[in-house]
Amino acid sequence: MKKALFLTSLLALSALSQPVLAEDLKIGLATAQTGGLAPYDAPVIEGVNIAVDEINAAGGIDGKYKIDLIDKDVRSDAAQTSIATQELVDQQVSVLVLPCDADPALAAISIVAAAEIPAISTCASSPTLPLVGGDYMFANFPGDNVQATVSAEWAWGEGYKSAYIIYSPDAQYTTLPLYFKEVFGKLGGDILGEDTYSIGQQDFSAIATRIAALDPQPDVIMTAAFEPDFPSLLKALRAAGVKSQMIGSDGIDSPTTFSLGDVVEGTVFTTAGFATEGSPMEAFNKKYKEVTGKETQTVFNAVGYDLIKVIEAAVKEAGSTDPKALRDAIANLENVQGATSLITYKGTNGMPVRQVSLVRVTGGDRELIGQPSPTADLVPAPRMQ
């Protein structure tokens, strides 16, 4: 009994010692600032900070809720992600932000679900994420199945009839070419073959030699490999004499890709946004330059801005910082104007409806091909790997 009394008084004390910040919105960032996912999470968090500073300078969301970011580095590690998430839950955050890849984000799932705090992955694009993650898990990027539909429809429209896919079973994201295969097949295209690789694989010469020996050559080669794998793969293919059209996805929207010179020329990829003239993304890029003093190098900066805009809209909608109310608000958001696109969660399972931009590498820079909407019937169902 004594013990129970002691415990309750201790609890009461600790509750008292917590500063009462009813008007602050606490956002817990459990993202990868170091390690393999840092190339994606680090720029997203830059964008997050720009948006938060902008909102706080204007007096907070709705002039009421200032945003308080609590930042933790999860080092691209699944176990570390769940530890950091637990720490943030203990600090009573209202919203959690999880790493870019579905796998570490999923490591935090049981904690997120039990704490009933909405969690948004910075830029995971696997449509299986909210399926596995449940009601409290949201994504912030066009889904892999949607991106693959856009690129497959483009390839078919360009008159390409045959394709070869190279994917890795190591992560959800790198299996994106399997969606491409499905859509391209439905459209009537031939899949000449497929190859697998391991993430971090240095040498692609065996695959390149096999593809170079194919007769006829595939019209397009589709992969979701990202650096350092993508440059190695591309260089190996070109060195082996393969001249097929390369199609990639958002993972190669990085400075390395644009510094590869002739080998990368003409490569086409899908991504989350493009700074067309007068677009919100152009405005964001200007703002980014004002704040940081350098040009933005990747779309992931703008994606971070989007993330905070979504949270802002949800807080306005819910009129509170209660995690449950915020979850319901996010799930019903429609046409939130982000930096890259309009974002809608209503009617989805947590994988937002967003615009997909199709970009070609031209002269070491981005060239917009278009921002087509995929044919809804063609979009494949999420597939568990």
Binding site: P39, T209, A236
Partner: protein, 297 residues
């Protein structure tokens, strides 16, 4: 037939790179009994030098030389700062020290250079390919093969003819007796690290010229391959390291080339399974070092 030849060229190029990496580990192990897991960070350092040289517009040939020099210097400093104080400690202490050095360097790269991977500007030539006897061979493959041959020839000469090389062989055989003969421990060990830095630097130039980017953690994968190759060849044996590197390269490429496509997913476990299988019959490695007296039980 042509496909087989083409894949064999690929295997030689990859095996050569693995051989250089494994040699770098073996040179140090043969003398100190230390498996230097910070060997990969020497490659990362060389990679960053390449990156900065590219940004500064330094011609690639000079950049490569600077990168190799930086790796050698870093290796010698690494020995002086981190390994010299624990030289007489147990093997485990040195192993843990090498992990610590590796992590400290990774964090320094992350905090002072960038957590994100950085593009390395490379000459167009390295992405080209030429036709030779009906085979299409990438210039970077040829560079890898030539670099391996040159390095192996140099190492062979160095170990047989050069004073420091002979001293290193003596030290590898019996350090105590070598010291009694008047060989200075510090010089021999510094030379071994410089040599391993040289090998890491050359391997790094080849490695980075394929992937075109450097990141703080990039040293881990190659050092792991080198470790497997060195064990396969026979720890501490230089010839063994070369053999192990080539065998590993051949296993990886041939599996990737000729395994049926529905088995490709299991390529790596199968490859490592073959390595284990070889070790069952040659538990001391392919060409064991005289000093390593592991026994089959």
């Amino acid at each position: 037939m042509e496909l087989l030849l083409q894949q064999t060229v690929n295997a030689i190029a990859l095996g050569g790179t693995y051989a250089l990496l494994a040699l770098g580990l073996a040179v140090v192990f043969s003398i100190m009994g230390l498996i230097n897991f910070a060997h990969g960070e020497l490659m990362t350092i060389a990679g960053y030098v390449l990156m900065y040289c590219g940004l500064a517009g330094v011609p690639f040939a000079i950049a490569a030389a600077l990168a190799i020099g930086a790796a050698m210097l870093a290796a010698v400093l690494m020995e002086m700062i981190a390994f010299r104080p624990v030289r007489n400690a147990s093997g485990e202490t040195m192993l843990v020290t090498s992990f610590a050095v590796s992590m400290v360097l990774q964090v320094l790269f992350q905090n002072f250079i960038a957590a994100r991977s950085q593009p390395v500007l490379l000459p167009q030539l390295l992405s080209d390919s030429i036709s030779l006897f009906g085979l299409v061979i990438g210039v970077n493959k040829i560079a890898a093969i030539v670099a391996t041959i040159v390095m192996l020839a140099f190492l062979d000469w160095f170990m047989r003819k050069q004073k420091h090389g002979i001293a290193m062989r003596a030290a590898a055989e019996d350090f105590a007796v070598a010291r009694l003969m008047g060989i200075r421990a510090n010089t021999v060990i510094s030379a071994a690290f410089a040599l391993s830095g040289l090998l890491a630097g050359v391997a790094a130039v080849l490695w980075v010229s394929q992937r075109a980017s450097v990141d703080p953690l990039m040293g881990f994968a190659p050092v792991l391959k080198a470790f497997i190759a060195a064990i396969l060849g026979g720890l501490g044996s230089l010839r063994g390291a070369v053999a192990g590197g080539f065998v590993l390269g051949f296993i990886e490429i041939y599996l990737a080339a000729f395994l049926p496509s529905d088995m490709q997913e299991f390529r790596e476990p199968i490859g490592l399974g073959i390595v284990v299988f070889i070790m069952l019959f040659r538990p001391n490695g392919l060409i064991p070092a005289a000093s390593l007296k592991a026994e089959k039980v």
